[in-house]
Amino acid sequence: MARAELMDFDQALELFEPVIGLEVHVELNTTTKMFSSAPNPANSAFHGAEPNTLVSPVCLGLPGSLPVVNGDAVRKSISLGLALGCSIAESSRFARKNYFYPDLAKNYQISQYDEPIAFDGELEVEIEGGKTFMIPIERAHMEEDAGKLTHVGGSTGRIQGAEYSLVDYNRAGVPLVEIVTRPIFGAEADAPALAKAYVATIRDIAIALGISEARMERGNLRCDANVSLRPRGQEKLGTRTETKNVNSFRSIERAVRYEIQRQAAILAKGGTITQETRHWHEDTGATSAGRPKSDADDYRYFPEPDLVPVVPSAELIEELRAALPEAPAARRRRLKGEWGFTDLEFQDVANSGLLNEVAETVAAGASPAAARKWWTGELTRLANASERDVVELATPAQVAELAALVDAGTLTDRLARQVLEGVVAGEGSPQQIVDARGLAVVSDDGALIAAIDQALASQPDVLAKIRDGKVQAAGAVIGAVMKAMQGKADAARVRELVLERAAAVE
């Protein structure tokens, strides 16, 4: 649907109540796959491997091979379930979901059906601006990922028009937890922002638990957004669509907003919504129809006979519960208070996904303001310029060290930025770079005074102006001194000394 045909968002909200439901897949970062000893590409140690090199007879579905459940994946799934406020099943079973597709090696996916490992949870989610919502969680279940298809020969990279397709089974068998919400009512105009904030909260939980790399751009975190509208005053839920391929936080918000506007436009004209899968297109900012989906999709689920039920002990569950980190919403409230940030400052950090970095930098001794400034400022700029991930550029310890050097007066902001470039280039710790590059501020007043006297002597007109009380004229002298010092001087101290000398010299 063209942009012009969409209904205005506010108007759509007047006529309809949006109901959303979110399915989030979290790739676990276990060393090996869900059911085999093959290395797991969702663990950063194996990221980016050549196609079909992280495979075993099990993930290739070779005849005779059998799955064995990865205990670490079970523990991480339980931790995630607990963090989502879920009950953990005393006994849960795997089931086969049967369908033919070439990226699915066995032509069935081992998943969980009627007995998920975690169920009945709720999660507090805070949207931008500080409003919070409780999101009802229906279930979180374990399953294996499918392989990846690359369609070759077409112009779009889609299967339509392709000449052939290549299959990479590296991803086949990667452990996933699928988290399914109940229908979410009452978000109203906040529905798009809430969808985004919900997924961001799951990302924060996954990172805090250390169970996933949780990077959307790598597919560690994937979201399918269900959206339906019902006319104001109507009890019955409208027909929903499920939007897939939503690969960034921003696009979750945009996709939900788009679907609300698209569906409203159709319904307002008396049309009906088709129950279907829709694909989000980042470039056009629109969704397009995928395959029709009905509740009668028949996957012929039955209990996986190759696996025994997962029966975690009460001790294990309590052990994992005791090890849970603070809930993200509570943690954000605490940190915001401790740091004394304004709403805007705090959101600047949180929305950049830098909460952990700032917290660790503060823990390493930096002031919250300095930590925030370096991470969201210079480091983010360097990351954008080099198209790298900001968290890979420096460690919180390095940033804290840099801030300490600035506080001690060893570095000016300008020098500190040069040091940071050295850190990013891998030249060592800030102190090592200061030493190696000779970047420290010249704090020897003797050297400064000599330079000032020389500058004043060569610019008698300026000296005269200063003596006449035209203090702003000192700028020219300060500039000359800073140049002579190659920038390694504290401009404020130079200014003080210039005024002193101007008064003192004959």
Partner: protein, 511 residues
């Protein structure tokens, strides 16, 4: 010499090898010669790798000469059912769809057999994907019963049973999903054991029905079965359903066999209508023999066994329809591209159409239907309830007796083609063997003689509680000893001389 070597039991051959009376290379060559001589007529093997077998045998001989401590079966040749994947050796499961596929790994039972120093000769014929009771559903032609080449050798493991009955191998591995080890043993005068579910790893066994499949020994004597059982049993971390427990020696159970005071329950539901008179006659004679030697024979009822076949033919096809979905041409095996190429769906469909035989297609369709939304509860769900009831029948029976007994199968070997047109009558062959698979309990079939009316072999089946496999070897070993004493020699001594059929033998497999 060669004929003597092939007629030795595995235990005897193992002793001669250990004593240095014979080398593994000699024993292996004797069996390869036998295969060359008779397998053209029997067709027990789908693949024979003589060269590799002799190399393996020579390696064992070298290790023995170097003083290495070897197991009791080291150097003894073995045939492997084609359902088990073997590294570097074709593994088709009797299907066209796997023709030419060479697995990159060994099934765990094969790994264990190799580690114990046994010498794999090749792969034996079977009904396609182990679906059948006659080997007539093999994509590569049927195996012939060494007792009468016009008759079936049982199935699905007819190849393994025929190979030991025809003295082509002293030992073989089989798989038993509903009787595929025990029923062929019954019709070929051999011994077959289905261990407790989980006793032997299923890793590398091309799955038919995962909750029913079990790998086990196929041999000519109970002691040989026990020796092989001791080699292949044990926990495997690659199979989640494999039992993690310490097993007693089955071979010891045979050597100490004693039935005095043993309570044997005769299942009344498996001792009447539908069973051939000669089968029942030999069954009751065997029971009387055991009774005369101290066993107590009691009648027990298993009222839900009559629903076993119905439940089995829902659970098996349901699991099989899913297990066989992987045969889609994408990663291995046959690929058929329809005229004018096509989509991946068309290639998958054309491959499965060409690669699967009619019995396989029948069961895939049955299973797909049974699992469909709206039918699941009525079919798969009900079948699982029957399964629970059958397990309860066993529990109640084993509260009263130590082992249960029945004829292994209703009839002696039938002629080729007799039951092909009527799947249900084919399915009824397994009426006595299926309950054990549904309940996961172990079973053995031991020869009891020849049916008077047709002179063909028949067997008795004993069943024991789960994990009590040793009881089967005790009672089976005792009965075998008593019968062989009565007969004045092993039953297979009465089998026809197959070398008369030498003219049918092909050059293939000859050294």
């Amino acid at each position: 010499m060669s004929d003597e070597l092939i007629r030795l039991t595995a235990a005897e051959l193992g002793e001669k090898l250990a004593a240095g009376d014979v080398s593994s290379v000699e024993a292996t060559r004797a069996h390869l010669d036998r295969i060359a001589a008779v397998d053209g007529a029997v067709h027990a093997f789908l693949h024979v790798d003589g060269e590799r077998a002799v190399e393996t045998a020579a390696d064992i001989d070298r290790r023995r000469a170097a003083g290495e401590a070897l197991g009791p079966l080291a150097g003894v040749p073995i045939a492997i059912k084609d359902v088990l994947v073997t590294k570097g050796m074709p593994s088709t499961s009797g299907s066209r769809i796997l023709e030419g596929w060479i697995p990159p790994y060994d099934a765990t039972p094969v790994t264990k057999v190799r580690a114990a120093g046994l010498v794999p000769l090749g792969k034996t014929n079977m009904d396609e994907f182990a679906m059948g009771s006659s080997t007539e559903h093999s994509a590569y032609g049927p195996t012939h019963n060494p007792w009468d080449l016009d008759r079936i050798p049982g199935g699905s493991g007819g190849g393994s049973a025929a190979s030991v009955a025809a003295f082509e191998a002293p030992l073989a591995l089989g798989s038993d999903t509903g009787g595929s080890i025990r029923q062929p043993a019954h019709v070929t005068g051999t011994v077959g054991v289905k261990p407790t579910y989980g006793a032997v790893s299923r890793y590398g066994s091309i799955a038919l029905a995962s909750s029913l499949d079990q790998i086990g020994p196929v041999t000519r004597t109970v002691l040989d079965a026990a020796l092989l059982h001791d080699v292949i049993a044990g926990h495997d971390p690659l199979d989640s359903t494999s039992l993690n427990m310490a097993w007693p020696s089955m071979a010891e159970a045979v050597r100490r066999a004693d039935v005095s005071g043993l309570r044997i329950g005769v299942i009344t539901e498996l001792d009447g209508e539908g069973f051939q008179p000669g089968v029942r006659q030999r069954f009751h004679e065997a029971l009387e023999l055991l009774e005369r030697n101290g066993a107590e024979i009691v009648e027990v009822s298993a009222p839900h066994f009559e629903y076993s076949i119905a439940a089995y033919y829902l659970i098996l096809p349901a699991e099989a329809s899913s297990n066989l979905a992987k045969f889609d041409s994408v990663r291995f095996g046959l690929r058929v591209t329809p005229d004018g190429a096509g989509t991946v769906e068309q290639v998958m469909a054309a491959t499965r159409e060409a690669g699967f035989g009619p019995e396989v297609k029948r069961r895939i369709i049955l299973g797909t239907y049974a699992l469909s939304a709206g039918y699941y509860d009525a079919y798969y769900g009900s079948a699982q309830k029957v399964r629970t009831l059958v397990q309860r029948d066993f529990d109640a029976a084993f509260a009263k007796v130590d082992v249960l007994a029945s004829p292994t199968a209703p009839t002696t070997a039938f002629k080729f083609g007799e039951k092909l047109a009527d799947p249900v009558s084919m399915y009824l062959n397994d009426i006595a063997t299926i309950p054990a698979n549904l309940a996961g309990v172990p079973g053995i079939s031991v020869p009891t003689g020849l049916a008077p009316e047709d002179g063909l072999p028949v067997g008795i089946q004993f069943l024991a509680p789960a994990r009590e496999d040793a009881r089967l070897y005790n009672v089976g070993g005792a009965l075998e000893q008593l019968l062989v004493a009565e007969w004045g020699g092993p039953l297979l001594g009465k089998a026809p001389d197959l070398t008369a059929h030498e003219l049918f033998a092909t050059e293939e497999g000859a050294l």
